[in-house]
Symmetry: C2
Subunit: 203 residues, 2 copies
């Protein structure tokens, strides 16, 4: 070696620029020139350090998914034991709260429509969220059958997800508190759901 390798920092810098461009313009619209400009570097350097566009996209996806996973670990680990009452704040104030993250996830989501592998990876992240929440829920009681706890967590997360998406349209409830109350009920009472008539059960 003759010259210090700055490749890693450059790559990081370029990917950060790429990500910023993607948030601003959407993945499909971002060109190498855009990234280069955002990174304040000649276009050729982007190609030299990252490679072709596909590789750049792959790198970005890896980066995003890794960070998503890390955020999940940070939120779920670190002694923040989740009791039923803490699920709503967890979902609404942390996981689905950040606008930029949501936009990025939407971008990934859109990609995943036609990308089997990415779909798997996205599913893995959300599944992990469901499993970890449901595990904590099951701690409260006897966990003979974990399926109901899983489904309760799944339901709560689906609800939070849908709510977050609608929020992006500017479509919001009159009172977010009511949604949170529903989440509380879902994760608290999954072992003894309110009785429903047979007709409703069959629906």
């Amino acid at each position: 070696m003759a010259r210090p390798k700055v490749g890693d920092e450059r790559r990081e810098q370029i990917l950060a620029a790429f990500e910023a461009c993607v948030v601003r313009k959407g993945l499909a619209e971002v060109t190498l020139a855009d990234v280069a400009e955002e990174a304040a570097q000649p276009r050729s350097l982007v190609r030299y350090f990252i490679g072709n566009r596909d590789e750049m996209v792959t790198c970005l996806i890896d980066r995003l998914l890794l960070r998503g996973d890390a955020q999940l670990s940070a939120v779920l680990g670190a002694g923040s034991v989740v009791s039923a009452a803490e699920v709503a704040p967890l979902l609404f104030d942390r996981i689905f709260a950040d606008h930029v993250t949501n936009v990025v996830m939407m971008e990934l989501w859109h990609l995943s429509i036609r990308d089997e592998a990415l779909r798997e990876r996205l599913a893995a992240i959300y599944r992990r969220l469901v499993v970890e929440v449901s595990d904590k829920l099951a701690l409260d009681g006897s966990a003979a059958d974990s399926a109901p706890a899983f489904d309760a967590a799944f339901t709560a997360i689906s609800l939070a997800f849908g709510t977050a998406f609608f929020a992006h349209l500017g479509l919001v409830p009159n009172d977010f508190g009511r949604i949170r109350t529903n989440v509380n009920s879902i994760v608290r009472d999954y072992r003894s759901p309110r009785s429903t008539s047979p007709a409703e059960e069959a629906s």
Copy 2:
């Protein structure tokens, strides 16, 4: 006029081809040549009857939103009075059941991230769904304050939406019945939510 105008049929044919391409490849990837091939017509005709690409996209969006609105009318109107117990089937078996429609909506959703006007129009559709469901719910009891009914409908629809999206990832609950039961509870008991501790209320 000297020659019979076949413009309307052609436009319809072209837009149908365009839509098929979009479902298959995603809007960003579809070229005029793709549409022309799908429509089995020379590329120039696409330009002649529709115009430039932007206009074609605009036409497609109009077409999709109009159809979405029509489907909503068909499902909600026509004597299918929605009682609380019918909300779950309505959402899961009709509104969010069709895979192709879901893919198209995802495409629109993605576009709407950077298109204010489209975002408004999408919001209008979902808002209408919420309002109509909540109206039917409110019929059951005294409708002094419609906000709780709106929020209950909003919650149920958010949940169904989230569930449908997760289904696209292959992420499903162990038992869909549990989700439906939750929806039933949400739309049935919104006037008397299960009591929550003050701590939970504050969450």
